[in-house]
């Protein structure tokens, strides 16, 4: 499993204020989604990847691997948009005959595919910028500033924490089953997976009771209040982010 988490905590862009990062990524994401200009999408993509590789010091191969999954998916999706199936080659710019059917592309479908792919890639990179530079505790801090209801923040915190515990438990059980040949055949696998799933539920139930006791022992009274870290704005960083963001806005919305 690729634990992105550890890179997030070590990334060098963490010295900037979380609000700067959230706003910057948000503006870029919106510009990407709101406009159909491939140039803007590509500028955002280049900007995000450039900042990530150049300033966050997260290894380029990690970012490349992360980008690969959505990129592959988008290229296949783009292909489906670009290629139409028809019974005659009349309106296609170019076509390929397959028995009675024709696979064709038109100028319109090609440009629609290109815009969709570039838009999605740009938007994905903006999202990655946020995700890779901002640990969850900082996201929660911004959510709190935005007056997101406390229960949402508490749930997010618990889900984040226990997803790792859940995965660890699930993998430990999976390994224990594999060690006793639980997955040697399809039949075995189905049976083992069923057992694993059922046991995970039971474990989760018991653990939730222990967690509740732990919280009670530490004075839990209905709210999971913790002290949030404090961040300082630096004028230089804010200015740099603002400059880049306004460049993207101008590119996207100026006629």
């Amino acid at each position: 499993m690729l634990y992105i988490d550890q890179y997030v905590y070590q990334n060098k862009l963490r010295i900037t204020h979380p609000v700067e990062r959230v706003v910057f990524a948000g503006v870029n994401l919106l510009c990407c989604v709101a406009t159909g200009k491939p140039l803007v999408h590509l500028v955002v993509l280049a900007l995000m990847l450039g900042l990530l590789v150049g300033f966050s010091k997260i290894p380029a191969f990690v970012i490349a691997r992360l980008m690969f999954a959505p990129a592959a998916f988008l290229l296949l999706g783009g292909l489906a948009i670009a290629v139409n199936v028809g019974t005659s080659p009349e309106r296609a710019a170019d076509s390929l005959q397959l028995g009675p059917l024709y696979l064709g592309v038109t100028g319109q479908s090609l440009s629609l595919a290109a815009v969709t792919v570039s838009k999605s890639l740009g938007a994905t990179s903006a999202l990655y910028f946020l995700v890779l530079t901002t640990p969850l505790s900082e996201l929660l801090y911004v959510m709190r500033m935005l007056r997101v209801p406390a229960v949402v923040i508490e749930l997010t915190m618990l889900v984040y924490r226990f997803i790792f515990v859940f995965l660890e438990t699930a993998f430990a059980m999976y390994n224990a089953q594999s060690a006793r040949l639980g997955f040697v055949s399809f039949r075995c696998s189905l049976n083992s997976f069923g057992l694993l799933f059922a046991n995970l539920w039971i474990k989760a139930f018991f653990r939730s009771q222990t967690v509740y006791n732990c919280l009670l022992s530490r004075g839990y009274d209905g709210t999971l209040a913790v002290l949030h870290p404090e961040f300082k704005f630096s004028p230089a960083v804010t200015a740099a982010f603002a400059l880049l963001a306004s460049g993207v806005i101008i590119l996207a919305f100026a006629a």
């Binding site: 905590y9 505790s137 924490r161 913790v226 002290l227």
Partner: protein, 294 residues
Amino acid sequence: MRQEILTADKITFTYLDGTTALHELSVKIPQGRRAAFVGNNGAGKTTLLLHFNGINRPDDGEVRYKERKLDYSSKGIKELRKNIGYVFQDTDSQLFAGSVYQDISFGPVNLGLPPAEIKVKLERVMRETGLLALKDKPPHALSHGQKKVVAIAGVLVMEPEVLILDEPTAGLDQVSASRVMDLLNSLNNTGTTIIFSSHNMDEVYAWADIVFVLKDGTIIAEGRPADVFRRRSVLQAASLRKPLVLELYDNLVSRGCLPAQAEAPATGEALLLLLGAHDVRPETREGKSHVAGV
């Protein structure tokens, strides 16, 4: 005789499934001491410990804190749990927040302290426990030993009078385990009463002032570790092993290889010193150096 800080008076506790975990159990924990609970899995150690901070409520009998019956109202419970810290065996259940700093802040925030004061407390407890470097890490990025220290820090920050630890060194490597025990040492030296359970008889023998042996929900023996662990019938009944150092020492004395001391040596190092070794490492567990005849 020292004052008792916690008392269980003939408590009986039955789980919802009908298992009677404790049966008319009575125990007195002296203030400022190190009390250990030993006994097999299922003997009732955890069930009993959870009575001391009001998580479990006895069906019969009563628990007293400083001679006063526990007040189970929400205000009383809050006050109790501030004073009696509890470190659970499973650290993954205890740590819930996204970072070490936030997790440790949970207790003091619940106490309603002003943020400035909480920050000072957090800073101090993280310095004392050596966690400053891990401040922003999420719990799942820590080793088991580190998680245990974070769990303890999250309780210490409330400055409890009594610290209860359920098998604090279970599953820890030697270095982490002795870090935890050193931490408990310095706490105990500043007056905190320590109550812990353990399956490591050598650790209990070297470290505890008073040991309680549990079997099937009752206390079958209590006293100073050297006395309790010499009672063969007790060890047999609770299927415990005699601590190695004590076993060796008693054997050496009975064979005439060593003159009998007023106090049996508490640690391997102390025993080696008695045997005339000169190159053993100095005693690290202060306060238990029986060799000097303390």
